[in-house]
């Protein structure tokens, strides 16, 4: 595997994602929500710390979800629309190097945004005289793994359909379904007859419904890696 080539593409991809108008919009949105969180916290009086923590987790989740899904879907389809992909693939670059480079770039920029949000939240906590709970970090780590996964799925659909809208739409649906996997499995187990086989389809989805643990994070990471491998495979078959 051409690690240096992947590094070059991912670095360029990360720079591009973070410099886009869309990233600026996400940053503005984050700042706005943090401001709203502070105001809401004041109104919560005795539960201020809990309200702030919950609000910050929600801000992180929404911002990273939007950023991850959009960046990975738009990155590939923009490369195709602007024909920049021809400039890249006319070099000695293999398709999987391009796909891995692109997705790692999105992961890097998502990590930067996560770091930025956490820094802002940390400053708010310190300013208010609270300490960060260790669970807060675990939740953030688990959230980051979920973002890795959903951005990989977004890229997968961008690679096979070459349409950013389709990729974004399907990824958001997968995100919601994946948070109810345990319930859906339970419902399918109760069903009888011809629909019973449908329960196997649910195994194609990542499972975000289980409690965060090292094992579940590892499973999500492996799932993401496999999705990126499939993206490379199908992208190779697509005539661009």
């Amino acid at each position: 595997m051409g690690i240096r080539t992947i590094k070059s593409i991912s670095w360029e991809s990360a720079k591009e994602s973070l410099n886009s108008k869309f990233a600026y919009l996400v940053f503005f949105f984050i700042m706005l929500l943090i401001y709203v969180a502070i105001l809401t916290g004041i109104m919560a009086v005795n539960d201020e710390k809990k309200v702030l923590s919950d609000f910050f987790i929600a801000v992180t989740q929404i911002s990273l979800l939007v950023f991850g899904v959009f960046s990975s879907a738009l990155g590939v389809s923009q490369d195709i629309e602007t024909k920049r992909i021809y400039l890249i693939l006319s070099r000695p670059v293999k398709i999987y190097e391009y796909v891995f480079g692109r997705i790692i770039g999105v992961w890097l920029s998502a990590f930067f945004i996560l770091f930025f949000i956490n820094l802002a939240c940390f400053m708010v906590f310190v300013f208010k005289g609270y300490f960060f709970d260790l669970n807060y970090f675990y939740l953030n780590a688990n959230l980051y793994f979920k973002i890795l996964c959903i951005s990989s799925i977004s890229m997968f659909f961008a690679c096979i359909t070459t349409s950013s809208f389709t990729a974004i739409g399907i990824s958001v649906m997968v995100w919601f379904v994946s948070h109810f996997i345990t319930d859906i499995k339970f419902a399918f187990d109760k069903m009888k007859g011809s629909v019973h086989f449908m329960k196997y389809i649910i195994y194609l989805f990542p499972d975000f419904s289980v409690s965060p643990s090292l094992y579940s994070d590892f499973k999500i990471l492996i799932y993401s890696f496999v999705v990126v491998l499939f993206s490379s495979y199908f992208f190779k078959k697509t005539e661009i």
């Binding site: 051409g2 690690i3 240096r4 080539t5 590094k7 070059s8 593409i9 360029e12 720079k15 591009e16 410099n19 602007t82 024909k83 920049r84 021809y86 400039l87 890249i88 693939l89 006319s90 070099r91 000695p92 670059v93 293999k94 398709i95 190779k236 005539e239 661009i240």
Partner: protein, 250 residues
């Protein structure tokens, strides 16, 4: 990777179709219909034809961006397929209307494309040398979003040269440019020929071809209608040959 043979590019009975997906039925469009030709080292060959004649398909096949239906394409005796990419080190490609990341500088862009061609390494000296060649050295640290169309085209040519390839493949490099930019790009191509590079050029401008090409391949509806050597045309005659060939090509 380069061979002792005098042939830089060889097309042997190449067929290529595109499938256009429809709602109920797919449609197949034949882009190349049994195309065969050879390009010798150190020559400038022009590909001419109306829109949809197959020029860009030939260029994409050379660059390994498409797969063949049947036939064979060789670049410096390396057979082209999607699995092998090493031969691409020998090719410098400029697409029609190149796009670069607007927040990057000219020098960073060249370093990026250099790193792709050399497996991740960067070379500032080489980037600056090539920027000097295309007349962008003074603006090397400027963001690309401030560049004009002509400057973008020159940057694209710089990108195609940064890894010192043997074969240069240019898809309508002077399209939409002003006369001064056209002349500058023409001079760059002639200087490349003097350095022993092989150039394949797709263009709509017959006057340009007359000035720089050693041979011209006239394509029509995916077939080669004529291959003409420089000696065969004098001023204005190429236009007549082209129109006669294309107009009565059916």
């Amino acid at each position: 990777m380069t061979s002792n043979s005098s042939i830089a590019v060889k097309f042997d009975n190449v067929f290529k179709s595109y499938i256009i997906k429809g709602f109920l039925k797919n449609k197949t469009i034949r882009a190349l219909n049994g195309v065969s030709f050879k390009v010798h080292k150190k020559e400038i060959v022009g590909l001419f034809g109306l829109n949809g004649a197959g020029k860009t398909t030939i260029i994409k096949l050379i660059c390994g961006l498409l797969t063949l239906d049947s036939g064979a394409v060789e670049v410096f005796e390396n057979p082209i397929n999607l699995k092998s990419v090493e031969y691409k080190k020998l090719i410098g490609y400029v697409p029609e209307l190149p796009y670069f990341y607007p927040f990057s500088t000219a020098k960073d862009t060249l370093n990026f494309y250099y790193s792709l061609s050399t497996g991740g390494f960067k070379n500032n000296e080489k980037s600056e040398e090539v920027l000097n060649l295309v007349g962008l050295y003074q603006r090397r640290d400027e963001k690309i979003k401030n560049f004009s169309k002509g400057m973008m085209q020159r940057l694209a040519i710089a990108c195609s040269l940064v890894h010192d390839p043997e074969l240069l493949v240019y898809d309508e490099p002077t399209s939409g440019l002003d006369p001064i930019s056209i002349r500058e790009i023409r001079n760059i191509m002639l200087s490349l020929k003097e350095k022993g590079k092989t150039v394949i050029l797709s263009s709509h401008s017959i006057s340009e071809a007359e000035k720089i090409c050693d041979r011209v391949i006239i394509l029509h509806k995916g077939e080669i209608k004529k291959i003409i050597n420089k000696e065969a045309w004098t001023d204005c005659e190429l236009e007549k040959i082209f129109i006669d060939t294309v107009a009565y090509g059916d």
